[in-house]
Each structure stands twice: as structure tokens, then as C-alpha cells.
Subunit: 329 residues, 2 copies
């Protein structure tokens, strides 16, 4: 198995990326790791160690966080992210991972790696936090602001296959983000999608309200990119405002300050739980090869975890399973 | 000034409605209060006192919480809510207030009271909670799930006039609920609405993210009913899940239990703040008369407050101001 890693993307690139890849190389000797980026910079962080299962693929350009995605991917053919995508497209790697510019990575998936036949819109699918720490796969969160009912149907099928192949869930419960649980609730989009999803090859449990996501009443949450983003930002904003108020309440007297010392770890854990950025790598589903997006602030541990996630997906033939499902249509 | 009150709608009708109206009648002797509902039941709660500015308008039917809105309003011409709406339509009252079935009240506004000329879609506009307790008027939250850019523009204008006429704000800041603050962010709907709102007769401050609503970075938040509902439910769900966790953390040891006693009032205040249902009556803007929706659980105090709010709106010629603005087009 071969996994390409964009060495130059993310806030702590290339150092933390290289370290994460070294850790992964030591743990999984059956996996070929292709580190894509500036050879000199990469080598400076290898400090002379280069495991047998690590190959440097030189790329002399980089897509920055502020580059306009489509333009950057089209023009910078030699950028590390684009080269990694090209390796997947050419069948020289089964997966690619990047902590770089999210829009550019989605564009790389779409234009360089390419769509799976039958998929209209690839979707970005991060895990949202839940109170029990297990999480819900939500898609689409970022790739497309507008969606048609057929797109939501495709998200449902892809998300369900991902949870089953990569997380081992036997019958992932698929919910549709909506304003009420009754069948006829919603806007034109969700009403039509509800109809389609009832006869889809997934375990569709119906509409799910934004207020129930945190209690994990489904395993896959289907939404258009706009509604999903509104939900996520509302959760983040509420959590951060409330935690601030709780902290203030706990500094109001000596007794509460004393108590604050003992509950601080618990409150910090709660804050971390509500920070969806910390919840691992998100797949771009629907492209013809595995594309994983790591958060920009990823450290070596996050990079290593993403490589582990990619291994599981490749071993369990995630992309082939999605392709087979859609070739039947 | 004459205000019609649906005596039969809400969880605590008619008792709490009648008590609220009696309090209002005592406070505002210049205002004629028309209590619409079953005369015998209303009289049983008046206990012989009937102030000069209170009139009972008999209605022998009621729309229940589970009635299908459009059907109920069309068929139950003698229902208290419909009769109250008819009083406004006929010019026998300037305002109506109900704590009954929300969908039926919106239908009453649309079909019985009637739209203002030029308004395509009336919108329900509750105050959302903010951390500083002042709140943000958000619309549409409930009347229409789908919206066109022109509808969002009309919401912006109506919301701005409401905050200025009823809350006395000189130049209400109008924000558009979106997934980012930059001008070109969003879906097709918000991109087109952004364009329209830039040249609208309102103080448009641009896009507003869901995570910033609680810190009150605008006074009027414009959104379609679907996105607004997703945001609201996400806020509610996050607040309730987090407060539960904080409570658990505070019962983990004797010292935290002791501290919990001292911070309990503060935490309860925080919970109440996040419960948007407690934040007063919501106007249905765009209908040809003032229609106010009280929460179903309203007590006499909430009813009296709604009457006070209606008085201000009528005194400051809210409906006429909206009609004038739209007659110019």
C-alpha cells in the first residue's frame, strides 16, 4: 500500500508532517509512505534517518493558505498538494493526505484525482463531536454550499459506506438534518431528499434536529454545506460563550475558585470535546482515490493518526466499495 | 387603541390570559382590550371584576395545538384566534395577540388579517438570546422554510423598521446569516441577497456567522426559515448538553458541591438566557395589522408584557411605517 503525504501543507509543515510520517513508517512497515515536497527541507527534518518504506517525491512549489483554490491548483502543477493528487490519479498511490488549504485540496480531489463514475459532487465529511466522544460523520461540510436532493442521496450512501468500511459499524444510522422529525418537515430540498432516502440502500432513520446531534442519535448526518456550516458554527459559538460564562461564575468567590481547581480538567475536556477541529482527518468522499484532509494545526500525532485512518480505508477497499455501489445505477 | 387577545390559546388559557389582560387593563386605561373566547369561561376567571376598558367578544370554537393550521383557519371561522384576526382585518382592533398554535396564527395573519401591499411573505421575528441579555431580532424564524433573495431583502427592511419603531434603535445594524463574513461567501440565496441588501434602505453590516450571534454583532439577523431554525436548535442543543455536563462536573466532590450552591443562581440565569422561548412575544411582520405570537407556556406576566409591546408598536405606527416603505416601490 502506498500513501502520499503533502509535506508542505499546514501550520507546522514540514517539521510536524515529517515527524508524523517517521512515526507511521516505524509502526507500519508494510506501508510505503511518499513524502511530497521540497527535498532539502524534508531531509533537514529527517536528521539522517530515512526508513526503507519512506520515499521523498520532490515538489518545488507550495499552495499557501490564502491562495485562491481553483486558480492555484490549475496553475501550480508542481505544488506538493497537486503532485500528491497526481500520484493517486496515476495509480502510484492509493491515498493522499494534506493539512494544507482546504479549498485547494477539494479542488485537487475534483480536478486532479477525479470523481468516481456516477458521483455528481464529492463531499467533505468530518466527524462532529458528540457528548459521548464517539462522534457523527457529517457531510457535506464544506465542499458545496448548494445541493440538490440527488446530491444529498449520494452523500447518504457514501457516508454510510465510510462508517461501515472505516469505522466498522454494521448498520450505520443515517439521519437527514432538518427542522423537525416528522416526515413532511423541512424546505423543498429536504422534503425531496427524504423521499429519495427512504428507498436508498442505507439504514435511513429519518429527519434529525440540530439539537439532537450532540446526543448522537445517528451515525451519519446528511446536510447541504450551507446548513451544516450554520449548525457547526452555532454549536461552536454557543459552547465558547457558555464556557466563558461558566468560568466567570467559578471565579466569583474563594469557595468557587477552590472548586474551579478541581473541575478545571473536566471543563477543559469539555472545551476540547466541542472543538471539532481536533477531531481528526476528514475524507473527501466521491473521488477516485482516498483524499484525507487534516486540520491546518495538525501536529505529528494527528498526521500519524491520519495515516492510520488511510491504511484502514485502503485495506477495507473504501473507494472500490463506493465505486461499485454507484456503478450499479 | 384597541387590542384583541385570543383568550383560548396557549397551555394556560384561559386563566393566565384573562389575568394578564386584567393587569394590562388596570395599567393602561387608554387601551381597549377585546378578550376573544368563550364568554362563560372568561367570566369565570374575571370573578366579577370587569374593567371599563375590557370587552368580551364571544367565540364558540377553538383551534387546538394539534390542528392542521390551514385547514383549521379555513374551517373554524368561529374560533377565537380567527375571530381576533377578523377584528384586525375589519379595523375594529389595531393589534391581536395569541399564545395558540403558531402555524394557525401565521395562517390567520396571512389569510384573515391579510398581507401589506408589496410584501410577498410575512415573517415571524422572535428575539434571539444574546450573552448581554439585549437580544437580536431574527427573521424569518418559522413562517417560510424556503426564501428567495427578494424575500430576505423584505425581511431586512421590516426587521429594521421594527427595531427602530418598537425598540427605539436609531440605526439598527442588519446582518445576513451566512457561513463566512466575506462578501462572496455563501450559497446562491445569500450571495444574491447580499447584493440586494447593499442598496437597501437599511444599515446593512454584511454577513454574520452563526457563532457570533450570541455576542450580538447585529440588531437584526436576516435568514430563511430553514437556516434560522437549524441555527436556533443547534444553540439550544449545545447549551442544554453543556449545562448538563457542567452540573455533573460540579457534583464530583464535596468541595465542588459546596461551590455549586453558590454558583447555582448564576447557572440558572445562564440556562434561562439560552431558552429563547422565554424571550417575549414575536411579531408576524408584513401583515396588515399587528399580530403578536406569545409562547404557548405564557403566564399572565408574559401576556401583559405582550400587550405592552403591542401598545408601543401601535403608538409608533409600526404597520403604517412598513406599508409606507413598501408602497414606494
Amino acid at each position: 500500500m502506498r500513501i502520499a503525504i503533502d509535506a508542505m501543507g499546514g501550520d507546522h509543515a514540514p517539521e510536524q508532517i515529517v515527524h508524523g510520517v517517521l512515526e507511521a513508517a516505524a509502526e507500519w512497515s508494510d506501508t510505503q509512505l511518499l513524502l511530497v515536497g521540497d527535498t532539502a527541507q524534508i531531509e533537514s527534518f529527517l536528521s539522517g534517518k530515512k526508513p526503507a518504506n519512506l520515499t521523498i517525491v520532490h515538489a518545488d512549489d507550495v499552495i499557501g493558505p490564502d491562495d485562491e483554490p481553483v486558480k492555484a491548483v490549475r496553475r501550480k502543477k508542481g505544488a506538493s498538494m497537486v503532485v500528491a493528487g497526481q500520484l493517486v490519479h496515476d495509480g502510484e498511490a492509493e491515498a493522499m493526505i494534506s493539512a494544507g488549504n482546504t479549498g485547494a485540496l477539494m479542488t485537487t480531489g475534483l480536478l486532479v484525482v477525479g470523481r468516481i463514475n456516477g458521483i455528481e459532487r464529492p463531499a467533505l465529511a468530518p466527524m462532529l463531536p458528540t457528548m459521548d466522544d464517539i462522534g457523527v460523520l457529517a457531510l457535506d461540510l464544506g465542499a458545496n454550499m448548494d445541493a440538490k436532493p440527488e446530491h444529498l442521496l449520494q452523500y447518504a450512501i457514501m457516508g454510510s459506506i465510510y462508517r461501515s468500511k472505516v469505522h466498522g459499524l454494521e448498520q450505520p444510522r443515517v439521519g437527514l438534518l432538518n427542522v423537525g422529525t416528522e416526515a413532511m418537515k423541512g424546505n423543498e430540498l429536504t422534503k425531496a431528499a427524504f423521499e429519495l432516502m427512504q428507498s436508498a440502500p442505507v439504514h435511513f432513520i429519518g429527519n434529525v434536529e440540530a439539537r439532537d446531534v450532540l446526543i448522537r442519535n445517528c451515525d451519519v448526518l446528511v446536510c447541504d454545506g450551507f446548513a451544516g456550516n450554520i449548525m457547526l458554527k452555532a454549536m461552536e459559538g454557543t459552547a465558547s460563550a457558555l464556557m466563558r460564562e461558566v468560568r466567570n461564575a467559578l471565579t466569583s468567590s474563594w469557595i468557587t475558585k477552590l472548586a474551579a481547581l478541581t473541575v478545571r480538567p473536566k471543563l477543559q475536556e469539555l472545551r476540547a470535546k466541542m472543538d471539532y477541529k481536533e477531531h481528526g482527518a476528514a475524507p473527501l468522499l466521491g473521488v477516485n482515490g482516498l483524499v484525507l484532509k487534516c486540520h491546518g494545526s495538525s501536529d505529528s500525532k494527528a498526521v500519524k493518526n491520519a495515516i492510520g485512518r488511510a491504511r484502514t480505508a485502503v485495506q477495507n477497499r473504501l473507494v472500490e466499495s463506493i465505486a461499485t455501489e454507484f456503478s450499479r445505477k
